[in-house]
């Protein structure tokens, strides 16, 4: 996730048939698409997998119809939401959904949180590797200090302070006091 390409540049390369760019586009948005289906819409894994594959199949097939290349992120979000809703409707025909499931499905609050989360991950992708790696491992991958220490060859005592420093650095970025511009910002 350490690309220097903006979303529009990435889309343009995908459209030109660049396999590497396609790999990166999938990598860049895979967490977002996954999270929308399992967190916002609470789809079971098997349904979420179908939605995931169909989102990227549609994206691949219809990339040339995207009018604004920099809008790939909301386009994918919208596509994912629509497919999740289709899936929930199909499931409801077989097994009526509970009141709670219907009320909670695709809550705007969760979708907004995931949108912010992607913004933060994009900034993280452009952060120095030692910060990117440790923050992703600790928070997103839920790895223990022991696992992180072994993987990054760091003493446990150093991990907490590095996490704290890297979070502070990321906060400064969002306060406009330090570098890395996120990919969707168009470099």
């Amino acid at each position: 996730m350490a690309s220097t390409l903006s979303d529009s540049e990435l889309v343009a390369r995908c459209r030109a048939g660049d396999q590497q760019a396609w790999n990166e586009l999938v990598e860049r948005f895979s967490r977002y698409v996954y999270a929308i289906s399992v967190q916002a819409f609470r789809l079971p894994e098997s349904d979420a997998e179908d939605v995931f594959q169909e989102v990227f199949a549609r994206a691949y097939q219809h990339l040339d119809k995207l009018r604004d290349d920099s809008a790939v992120r909301p386009w994918l979000a919208q596509l994912t939401r629509r497919l999740c809703i289709d899936r929930l409707r199909a499931t409801a025909r077989e097994r009526p959904a509970t009141e709670e499931e219907l009320v909670d499905a695709g809550s705007e609050e969760t979708l907004a949180l995931l949108d912010d989360a992607l913004t933060v991950h994009e900034a993280l992708a452009a952060a120095p590797e030692h910060c990117r790696e440790i923050l992703d491992r600790f928070f997103a991958r839920d790895e223990s200090y022991k696992t992180i220490g072994e993987a990054l060859d760091l003493p446990s005592g150093t991990i907490a302070s590095r996490i704290s420093r890297c979070l502070a650095r990321l906060r400064e970025h969002f306060e406009g006091r330090s570098d890395p511009p996120p990919p969707s910002g168009g470099r």
């Binding site: 999938v26 967490r31 999270a35 199949a57 219809h62 933060v120 991950h121 906060r171």
Partner: protein, 84 residues
Amino acid sequence: MTAFDEERLALLIRALPPAPEGWVRAAQELPSVRGELDEIVARAEADAAFRERLIADLEGALAAEGYERDPVVLAALRVRLKSK
């Protein structure tokens, strides 16, 4: 630019765990199965009965014709057949 405190940043990083590796790899393989997809879609366009079988039971129709039931191919074919 939106400001986030450290606690909020931690929560937002945590909110996007990685998608299963196999799913990501499968989606990345789409360009490499394009030839097979084109072939199946061309057959479906030329052969109405085959197309009907695909629409009625995609996996079954592909298996009957000796195609592998690759999830990437299945997802992509659903999209292609709908858009025709």
